[in-house]
């Protein structure tokens, strides 16, 4: 494409359903900025999600998108990337979508290390269903469903991604879109599965998260390729540290044969060879 695309050219004309002040807006902006910076052709993007406020994001980007079902975005994206390695596959969703109902896919997609970007827009709450605890919510956070708090300790997504085999692991903050955008540029360029947790306040159900901007800090200055050092850095952090913590070249999973033929005219002779195995 010869015309230079601006970040706003990557936005669709659909108006987001998000509440005013929701952290998810900034993620949309940071992502479109990264896409424009890398000059990725819009029609070569496959943007996949699950269900949740956050998972609405593909429709707001002017690209190919798939707003799938709750928790299954990574699975759908893995099929798309396997069949169409030529596409830039991006997946986004919430902490409930990715870590609870989709937790198994999270582990196995990290393990598979296919070349795609996964953004979890983490607000430590189920926003869409109006405020229940997620796997990253503190145990004493009181809500209608668990009036004494969930009583369950949150898990650390970065540590799980590391243990599961993700090859690029980072944390960003929606209150600092330009730093986030830089992380996303790195993540998009990384060959392999890039996992970016973005802390993204839910103004409506977790208004106290508006204080996050005072609590976040730069933590991971230089990414390491040593899992032991990365594990240490993640565990020493208070969960509010920003930056790329781990990056390493790890074999990427892809179908044995690249460039699947999209036309239906593939070699009759091969099929005939296959049928000949049945002959007596």
């Amino acid at each position: 494409m010869s015309i230079e695309l601006k970040p706003k050219d990557y936005k669709s004309d659909i108006k987001p359903v998000w509440c005013p002040g929701c952290g998810h807006f900034a993620i949309l902006s940071a992502l479109t900025k990264a896409l424009a910076y890398l000059k990725i052709p819009k029609h070569q993007i496959g943007f996949v999600s699950g269900i949740g406020c956050s998972s609405r994001i593909p429709a707001y980007v002017d690209s190919y998108g798939f707003h799938g079902i709750h928790g299954r975005g990574l699975a759908l994206a893995s099929g798309l990337k396997a069949a169409r390695p030529d596409l830039h596959v991006i997946v986004a969703g919430g902490d409930g979508d990715g870590f609870s109902i989709g937790g198994n896919h999270f582990i196995h997609t990290c393990r598979r290390n296919m070349d795609m970007l996964y953004i979890v827009m983490d607000n430590q709450v189920y926003g869409m269903t109006k405020g229940q605890a997620s796997p990253t919510t503190d145990p004493d956070w009181v809500n209608k469903l668990t009036p004494h708090g969930s009583g369950i300790r949150p898990f650390e997504p970065l540590a799980i991604a590391l243990a599961s085999g993700a090859s690029f692991i980072a944390r960003g903050f929606s209150g600092d879109p330009s730093a986030m955008s830089k992380i996303l540029v790195e993540a998009l360029q990384h060959p392999g599965f890039s996992f970016v947790q973005v802390l993204s306040p839910c103004k409506t159900f977790r208004p106290e998260q508006m204080e996050w901007k005072k609590q976040v800090h730069n933590a991971f200055i230089e990414p390491t390729d040593d899992p032991a050092l990365a594990a240490q850095a993640i565990h020493n952090d208070d969960g509010m540290g920003m930056g790329i913590v781990f990056q390493r070249d790890i074999p990427i999973w892809s179908l044995a044969k690249k460039n699947t033929n999209t036309k239906q005219d593939d070699s009759k002779t091969s099929i005939e060879k296959i049928t000949s195995e049945f002959e007596l």
Binding site: S78, A82, D266, E279
Partner: protein
């Protein structure tokens, strides 16, 4: 039953080689010009458990279970009581067993079958490395007057990869067994009537392979896979062959993933399939609903087994019809088709894929263990081009509408990578552009679109297989069809006039064509292998059955026997 048909069962403990014996016998009979059918049955153990093969041979294509067994080759008596229900014997049956295996079990003495003990072990010992199963195979080989050449080719084909030594020893054993039978005159040589086939283009194929092949023919190039009995062989058979055709298979972490993976790959423009069985189909339902709502073509082959829950993984039942028809939440019209037998599994899976692609929806192919894990010698099937293809939007368009309302209900689908007609597919209700909408007008028009495209399409005469003429009409589907057809032939000999309708396209039901086919019916009987009369109730719900129609339904895992069906019909006539 055709007079030229005869049947053999082989049973034995794990490691006794019952399945290998069956495979070699089937191949040798095929080499000799017979057609054949071999159903497998195994116990609950993963490895080393007892197993049985049930085989039927004929001078023409044979794909139905038989009424009774002419020969039972008991390599030992290990857990024979677990199989005996599946191997009906009568006074004409001959049981051949190894004298060293101990006393004849009581279950056998009750059957009135003739029993002949043989010192198979001693005979095997006379050949270095010799095995009981190959000696026993020799006894049968001579009974059917197979040639040394057929045996040679069959053993080479089935055991060839185990090395020359094993092949030679096995052939020596079989020949030894053949000679023993010739010498001893223990039971007569049975040469069937009818001409043997000289066709060289016949195939040896299992139903699971047939499904895989039909899918490849139709252009499936991506498979999302999670293993489950008895569907795994479809996935394993397709995996290396997909690679040869420039596609591939992705092993998923579960069925929630495998169904979503193929929705993703199909969205990417590649015809895609997954195969599973009841428990997996249960997990896939939400994904199937997504494929329907987002109008993404996918094919799900369900090789059904005894249910509910984990049920009977290794044995057949037609009890997944309800879940295939009604499993999805919401109003979710889609395609449900069922192959009628092993040979038809090639066409039906091919057809299902073409239809799913053309109509941009989910197609469920209802096979079962009886079809999937059986092997048959068939005439090589010819596939006529159905000419159904996915309609794509290939050029940039101002204001592209992915879910545009058109007469056919099918709107051109743009494939990622195509500039200028980007869209976001959605399982949320949407407007023609694809933008989520909860407005009643959008819900109404899109529901109608997804329903109409299936109803308006002309499926041709493939919706069913109708045979015979008469005012007694048997309606059936799937693997029961072969036995129902044979029952009808038996009854015809007693001058009943009977028509059989085996329904291939179960959803959308071709209501008008079915009622035309039922026009002059005096008696209608719906026959299916499940307890809940699932097809019977479904047809009633569509006002497609006369009010006094009969239901003959019973659960698996025992396959229907043609006699069993014929007896039922005779009683009600």
């Amino acid at each position: 039953m055709s007079s030229s048909s005869f049947s053999v069962a082989v049973t034995g403990a794990g490691g006794s080689g019952a399945v290998t014996t069956g495979l070699i016998l089937l191949e040798a009979m095929a080499q000799h010009g017979f057609y054949g059918f071999m159903l497998r049955s195994s116990g609950p153990q993963i490895r080393g458990g007892e197993s049985a093969v049930m085989m039927r041979f004929d001078t023409g294509e044979v794909l139905a279970a038989n009424n009774q067994f002419d020969y039972l080759l008991a390599l030992d008596w290990f857990n024979i009581e677990r199989f005996i229900d599946e191997i009906p014997l009568d006074k004409n049956s001959l049981v051949i067993f190894d004298l060293s295996a101990g006393e004849i079990p009581e279950v056998l003495s009750q059957s009135n079958a003739q029993v002949v003990g043989f010192d198979l072990k001693k005979m095997a010992k006379s050949i270095q490395g010799g095995r009981v199963n190959m000696i026993a195979l020799g006894l049968l080989a001579n009974t059917f007057s197979l040639s040394d050449q057929s045996i040679d080719r069959a053993v080479n084909k089935i055991l060839g990869r185990k090395g020359i030594k094993i092949v030679e020893t096995s052939i020596a054993c079989v020949i030894h067994g053949m000679n023993e039978h010739k010498k001893s005159n223990l039971w007569p040589v049975k040469i069937p009537t009818g001409n043997l086939s000289t066709k060289t283009t016949r195939w040896s194929i299992t139903g699971n392979e047939a499904c895989g092949l039909g899918a490849l023919y139709a252009g499936v190039r991506f498979v999302g896979a999670y293993p489950i009995t008895p569907a795994t062989e479809i996935l394993e058979w397709m995996s290396p062959r997909l690679e040869k055709l420039g596609g591939g298979l992705l092993q998923a972490e579960d069925e929630l993933a495998s169904i979503n993976m193929i929705i993703g790959s199909s969205f990417g423009g590649i015809p895609s399939l997954t195969a599973t069985s009841g428990p997996g189909l249960s997990l896939m339902l939400e994904g199937i609903g997504l494929a329907i709502s987002s109008e993404t073509p996918v094919v799900v082959v369900n090789v059904s087994r005894g249910g509910p829950s984990t049920g009977i993984p290794t044995k057949s039942e037609q009890s997944d019809l309800n879940i295939a028809l009604y499993g999805c939440h919401g109003d979710a019209p889609h395609l449900v088709v069922a192959p009628l037998n092993i040979s038809d599994a090639v066409f039906t899976t091919y057809w299902a894929t073409c239809l799913a692609e053309q109509l941009q929806t989910a197609a469920i192919v209802l096979s079962d263990q009886f079809i999937g894990q059986s092997r048959a010698i068939i005439n090589n099937p010819t596939i006529e081009d159905i000419k159904c293809r996915r309609i794509t939007a290939d050029n940039a368009q101002e204001n592209y509408q992915r879910y545009k309302i058109l007469d056919s209900g099918v709107s051109p689908m743009s494939i990622p990578g195509t500039p200028g007609c980007m869209y976001t597919a959605d399982g949320l209700e949407h407007n023609p552009k694809g933008t989520p909408s909860s407005m009643s007008i959008d819900h109404l028009t899109q529901l109608e679109k997804r329903n109409n495209k299936l109803l308006k399409f002309d499926y041709g005469e493939q919706w069913s297989d109708i045979s015979g003429k008469g005012d007694i009409i048997l309606i059936t589907w799937g693997s029961s069809s072969a036995m129902v057809k044979e029952a009808a032939q038996q009854l015809k000999k007693q001058s009943y006039s009977i028509k059989t309708i085996a329904i291939r396209l179960l959803m959308p039901l071709q209501v008008d064509l079915l009622s035309a086919a039922l026009k002059d019916a005096k008696k209608v009987i719906v026959i299916e292998q499940n307890q809940g009369k699932q097809l019977f109730h479904y047809l009633h719900s569509q006002n497609s059955l006369p009010i006094d129609a009969y239901s003959f339904a019973r659960s698996g895992p025992l396959p229907f026997r043609p006699d069993e069906i014929a007896n039922y019909i005779e009683v009600i006539l």
